[in-house]
Amino acid sequence: MTDFKQIENNLKKEAKKLLESAEVPVVLAYARGYDDKHPMPFAAKSVADVEKIVFNEYCNFNMARYIMRFPDAAKIAIAAKAADSRALVVLIQEEKVRREDLVILGIPASGMKDPKTDQLIDSRTTGGLYNPVEYDILLGEEIRGQKIASPYAVLADYEAMDKEARWAFWKGQLDKCIRCYACRKACPMCYCDPCFIDQNKPRWADKAPQSPGNMMYHLTRFHHLAGRCIDCGECSRACPVGIPLYLFHKKVAKECEEMFGQAAGMNLEDKPVLVDFRVEDSDQILR
């Protein structure tokens, strides 16, 4: 595996080339935050900016989140780890961005950590892939031979619960929600403008952080991400009160994969499952 420092150097080298040649006006990458453990998403717009770019085990943000912030840029370069690349694939499928307008700087990475807990970010809270699924330039050696654990293994305890227990579990978790909306803001797939929860004519839910409104917000968001969530885990890491949102997304992703034989954002040629219709599609969804 190429180490993080080497990836950082390669990222700087490619960013410099792209900005110098004016092939792109912006390279989406990471910069140092208030210390090394807290890097930040960063938009390098000049050769001078390139020196600020960093890459380390805490650069776990999904950079696809920022792709639509530059409507004036004809082309954007973006540093993309496995999950970021899957998010880009979904955004391309959904025609939010065109493949030819992106230069994807792929980052193969394993050993990413959550700075809040210092725990390894792996298949328990994310898709657990190491290599980007789509890229133009790969900034390190492809990671081979490492065991890829099923992203759905973590669901065992959840699936052992019956309907009532699941309802009680989610009610308990969602009651904690303070409606800061960090989950939808960190999510690369949450690009609705305005989000249904911000609409006031009609208003779909209470603004107060209490049961019915919290349920309305989260359950709608969960289902709006059906077949689209690429399991980057950003929503759960962003949550200040520790709601394990990834569990619901994983459960829906698993059912989608079982019913339609495809995981979100794995292949540019796929059509999103809820957009596509095939005669042989499972009718389990209508149960």
Binding site: G33, D198, P209, R237
Partner: protein
């Protein structure tokens, strides 16, 4: 008056306070501690750094119901929601948060318009401040020293507490503090050595290192006015900002709220809920016009409100350096760094 109690007997203290009123203290939850009502004396523990959400929740709850109504009935029949205030003990407030209450008082009381909800709760509450443990380095995000607040600063507390080995020293700072300590029979008297320890701890606290810069409120206020229109500065500072509400919701000095009517099948409640200047619809006008459509405008508003507008209007910075906004920001936006960069800009 200096009293003390063995930390092993802290649960007896909790039980005594629960008899006299509502006891609120940091309680461990999945993601960290938060202030909550203590229902079982065993719940009280002193092993926390600080809470996720600030204790402003005690005086300004995220949701406050004002009036219940039925749309088919006349307005006169609407029922105001009674404010059921009981004597309250807010236990374990860190010095930076105790200071934040004084800043919040400006808006809810001291500037002339009295918010009865805030004021009645404030009057009914005795604040038991608690020094940070000086043996543990301050967390990286904290910068209360910059705002002139010590790690063992009793200001803003009614009773101030300091750990001394196996004991907890408790000193009354205000008459309310004197009164409650006198009513707690299980407390022992502080010895002269305890008194000396307490005073030295407070002095030592002002030297406890957090991130620190020399910051004159008038200078930073002016500086932010000068760079207010520098789109380049604010766009660079907000490049990563997701525009979520974490920083404002965990903040001890953010007080913006929205009044809304939640009606279901003709029955409704008029209530206030926290709002956040980082939300897109915060400035959405009835005409459909929105003066702050960009993320950089919203982040600029938050920073300038605390470090510029507030200084101009009330003479003090509306920030206590507790570090929560930085600590919980999903993309590590750091208000201390923004102020540092602004000073250099």
């Amino acid at each position: 008056m200096l009293k003390k109690i063995s930390i092993k007997k802290i649960n007896d203290l909790a039980a005594a306070l629960m008899e006299k009123g509502t006891l609120l203290a940091p309680v461990k939850e999945a993601a960290g501690h938060n202030f909550a009502e203590i229902k079982d004396p065993q719940q009280l523990d002193l092993n926390y750094y600080n809470t996720i959400v600030s204790p402003k929740t005690v005086f300004l709850p995220q949701k406050e119901d004002f009036v219940r109504y039925e749309t088919a009935k006349p307005v006169a029949e609407a029922q105001p929601v009674a404010l059921n205030i009981k004597a309250t003990f807010l236990f374990g407030v860190r010095p930076c948060d105790a200071k934040s209450f004084q800043i919040m008082d400006i808006h809810f009381h001291a500037s002339g318009i009295i918010d009865p909800y805030w004021q009645k709760r404030r009057d009914a509450t005795v604040i038991f401040g608690c020094a940070f443990d000086l043996d543990i380095p301050a967390q990286d995000a904290d910068f209360y020293q910059t705002l002139g607040i010590g790690a063992a600063d009793p200001e803003g507390s009614d009773v101030f507490m300091v750990k001394k080995g196996e004991d907890l020293l408790m000193k009354a700072i205000t008459p309310q503090g004197e009164e409650i300590l006198a009513r707690l029979a299980m407390l022992g008297e502080g010895k002269p050595a305890d008194k000396k320890y307490f005073e030295e701890y407070i002095k030592k606290g002002s030297q406890h290192q957090t991130r620190n810069m020399c910051l004159d409120p008038q200078v930073i206020a002016k500086k932010l006015e000068d760079i207010f229109h520098s789109g380049e500065f604010w766009q660079a500072q907000s490049a990563a900002c997701l525009s979520c509400g974490i920083c404002t919701f965990v903040c001890p000095t953010c007080y913006c709220f929205d009044i809304c009517d939640d009606t279901l099948f003709s029955r409704g409640v008029r209530r206030r809920v926290w709002d956040a200047c980082m939300f897109t619809d915060f400035t959405l006008e009835a005409s459909g016009h929105n003066p702050r459509t960009h993320v950089y405008q919203r982040l600029r508003q938050k920073v300038c409100h605390k470090y510029s507008f507030h200084v101009r209007k009330y003479g003090v910075i509306s920030c206590v350096g507790c570090g929560r906004c930085t600590r919980y920001c999903p993309v590590n936006i750091d208000i201390y760094s923004i102020i540092q960069d602004a000073m250099k800009a």
